[in-house]
């Protein structure tokens, strides 16, 4: 299955984001490239601090001081979102054609406004609806995310709702203007396991019904396997492997991906000890020059201390690993 030749919906090219802190400059994103096609779901996985949230925050323009986008570009439907001249385009896009769902719904919603206000303000700003029209649409949206008694809910405040319901409200808010891309940053991490399942089902259902593209960020491989077409694995601010989700999980190439999959507990296998990956992720204030995974890698070779780039392995699969390249060339 080759990648479609037409313009991807969203494309990030060599994104570099730095954070200037007292301890030094944290290189959160060191040349990240990915793309999402229409109607596709991309999962981005990685441990905490791998840079996955930073990459998508850059897409939504949420990198504030002391963060700074140093280089690279982000293209939405072919147009740059980082170009200072295209600010009007960005304002149109953000919230309307690209929407975002965050991790913790309690802090992501404004505690002093009703959720009715918070949903309708998006509608009134982007779509120019009147108050009544917006209210109607808001109730439709609440219905779409399986929230009952929508009329009552509109007048409620975030602290009067449960965690799962708040996340549904976030999803409803995101869907308000019928976006083409939804970015979900760890949408289920802050929820109970049972609620997690519900929210994920909802997302899958919506994705199919509305044919909306989704970028799903998570550290949970199981979630990715369930929902995503493609997956990108991030480590230390770089993407180390990206490709079709089923293929990547069936036959991972990068040692880190292999380690992640090995470390994921499975119900169908009996293991005596949990497997983990030795070592710790590198300090992003002074990241290593070559492959960041080098100190923890069991396949390391001499070439690995040099800078490496993503190598295409065919079938729209990319890996950032010298060993994999050698294997493939063979």
């Amino acid at each position: 299955m080759t990648a479609s030749r037409k313009t991807p919906l969203l494309e990030a090219r060599d994104l570099v984001v730095n954070f200037y802190t007292r301890g030094g400059v944290v290189q959160a994103s060191r040349g990240v490239s990915f793309q999402v096609d229409y109607g596709q779901t991309l999962g981005i996985v990685g441990e905490s601090g791998s840079g996955k949230s930073v990459a998508v925050q850059a897409v939504m323009g949420l990198i504030f001081t002391p963060g700074h986008i140093e280089g690279g570009d982000i293209l939405f439907k072919g147009r740059s979102l980082l170009d200072p001249a295209g600010r009007k385009f960005v304002r149109q896009v953000r919230g309307k054609e690209i929407a975002m769902i965050f991790q913790d719904p309690m802090t992501s919603l404004n505690p002093v406004f009703t959720i009715g206000t918070q949903i309708t303000e998006v509608l009134r700003h982007h779509m120019g609806m009147t108050r009544n029209q917006a209210r109607h649409r808001a109730m439709e949206l609440l219905d779409m995310v399986d929230i009952n008694a929508p009329e009552k809910r509109l007048k409620q405040y975030p602290h009067e709702m449960s965690g799962g319901m708040r996340q549904r409200v976030m999803i409803a808010m995101a869907l308000a203007c019928e976006p083409q891309l939804i970015i979900a940053d760890e949408p289920t991490t802050a929820l109970d396991v049972t609620i997690q399942a519900q929210i994920l089902e909802l997302l899958a259902d919506l994705q199919q019904r509305l044919n909306v593209s989704v970028i799903l960020i998570t550290h949970d491989l199981g979630v990715v396997a369930q929902l995503c077409h493609r997956v990108a694995v991030m480590y230390a601010g770089r993407i180390v492997e990206v490709g079709d989700a089923d293929q990547v999980f069936a036959s991972p190439v990068h040692p880190y991906t292999k380690g992640l999959i090995r470390a994921t507990p499975r119900l169908d296998m009996v293991t005596e000890r949990m497997v983990s990956i030795d070592g710790v992720p590198p300090d992003l204030i002074s990241p290593p020059r070559g492959c960041a995974f080098f100190p923890r890698c069991d396949q390391a070779g001499k070439a690995c201390s040099r800078m490496q780039a993503l190598i295409e392995l065919g079938d729209d699969r990319h890996v950032s690993c010298w060993c994999a390249a050698k294997e493939n060339v063979r």
């Binding site: 730095n18 200037y20 802190t21 007292r22 400059v25 001081t65 002391p66 700074h68 140093e70």
Partner: protein, 333 residues
């Protein structure tokens, strides 16, 4: 700052002895980094020294009248002399000497009120927080009620009735100002009381005085210190206001507020009588505030990070390229 590994108990115990000296050194380093705080500390130290050695530093006796040299202007005027560098007041008293001695009163009142009000307030807060139940309810009701009193008016009335003096001013200001210590201490105690290590200490069998002193009090010192310093500044201003209104320090004693009140009548012909004591108050309070904000900064790591971020933001906005270039340098092979 890495600590050397201690392999034996003796080594560990020996290390403890030098800990407080190390923390003092660390404090000194912090101070050098934060210029406003440094200025504040220097100013305060100078003021304290000036107050302590006032009789030796002041060129004249502050109460000495010299009616032949009334309302003499400061030295940089034509009629000024080096004998009275900052001029004289309407009774011929040297302004410089009065200002130096005035520091004694202000600092003394500030310290005394903070100690008395703070002492009482902290004890109340500890009792309310630790003993809980009826004691807590009673103390909190008392605080809530007294906080709603019109403090300054009551202070003025009481001072007028019992007669203003150094002692009564301290008493009245302390009566008015202990509540804030009480509330702060109580909330600190409540939050610490719930922590696991206090629970553990209770389970092990520690009796409450020990818990109080070993576990709870050390956690209070930092916010308490900042509060005390801010209150100190407020008291200096309050004493000056009371003296200005005539219900604080009485003549022939010197107080900056009193001097401003007396100079007020000659304001238009001898501006220095009002300006100089007022400046002294402002400088003192400013120095105290600088020290207080420095303390707040170093005791809360979040605040420091925020301050750094703000500083970087300003720098970045002004000169982004220079910053980027500077950051790239260390990576050169």
């Amino acid at each position: 700052m890495t600590q050397p590994r201690t392999d034996t108990l003796e080594q560990a115990l020996a290390q403890n002895r030098f800990e407080w000296w190390d923390s003092l050194q660390e404090l000194g380093r912090e101070l050098k980094r934060d210029k406003p705080g440094l200025i504040g500390v220097i100013l305060i130290t100078s003021l304290v020294l000036m107050a302590v050695f006032a009789p030796f530093i002041a060129p004249h006796d502050p109460a000495a009248q010299d009616l032949t040299a009334r309302l003499a202007p400061p030295v940089w005027y034509d009629k000024g002399t080096w004998n009275h560098i900052l001029g004289t007041d309407h009774l011929g008293r040297d302004v410089l000497s009065r200002t130096i001695h005035g520091a004694r009163v202000s600092l003394w009142v500030g310290a005394a009120v903070v100690l008395v009000a703070g002492g009482f307030g902290v004890v109340m807060g500890l009792m309310a927080g630790y003993l809980g139940g009826r004691t807590d309810a009673f103390i909190m009701r008392w605080i809530d009620t007294q906080v709603a009193f019109p403090g300054l008016l009551l202070a003025l009335i009481i001072l007028a009735v019992i007669g203003p003096s150094l002692f009564t001013v301290v008493v009245v200001l302390a009566l008015n100002g202990w509540m804030v210590y009480g509330r702060m201490t109580r909330s600190a105690v409540l939050s610490i009381r719930e922590s696991p290590y206090v629970e553990a200490a209770e389970v092990v069998g520690c009796r409450w005085p020990r818990i109080l002193f070993r576990h709870i009090l050390p956690n209070l010192t930092s916010p308490l210190l900042t509060l005390a310093i801010l209150e100190f500044a407020r008291i200096v201003l309050a004493e000056a206001a009371l003296s200005f209104l005539g219900l604080g320090i009485q003549p022939p004693a010197t107080s900056w507020g009193l001097d401003v009140a007396m100079g007020k009548n000659y304001m238009f012909m001898a501006w220095w009588l009002v300006t100089i004591p007022g400046c002294a108050i402002a400088v003192t309070v400013l120095a105290i505030n600088l020290v207080a904000s420095w303390l707040r900064l170093i005791s809360d790591p979040q605040e420091r990070e925020k301050q750094y971020a703000r500083h970087m933001a300003g720098v970045m906005r002004k000169n982004l390229h220079a910053v980027l270039e500077k950051e790239k340098e260390p990576e050169a092979p």
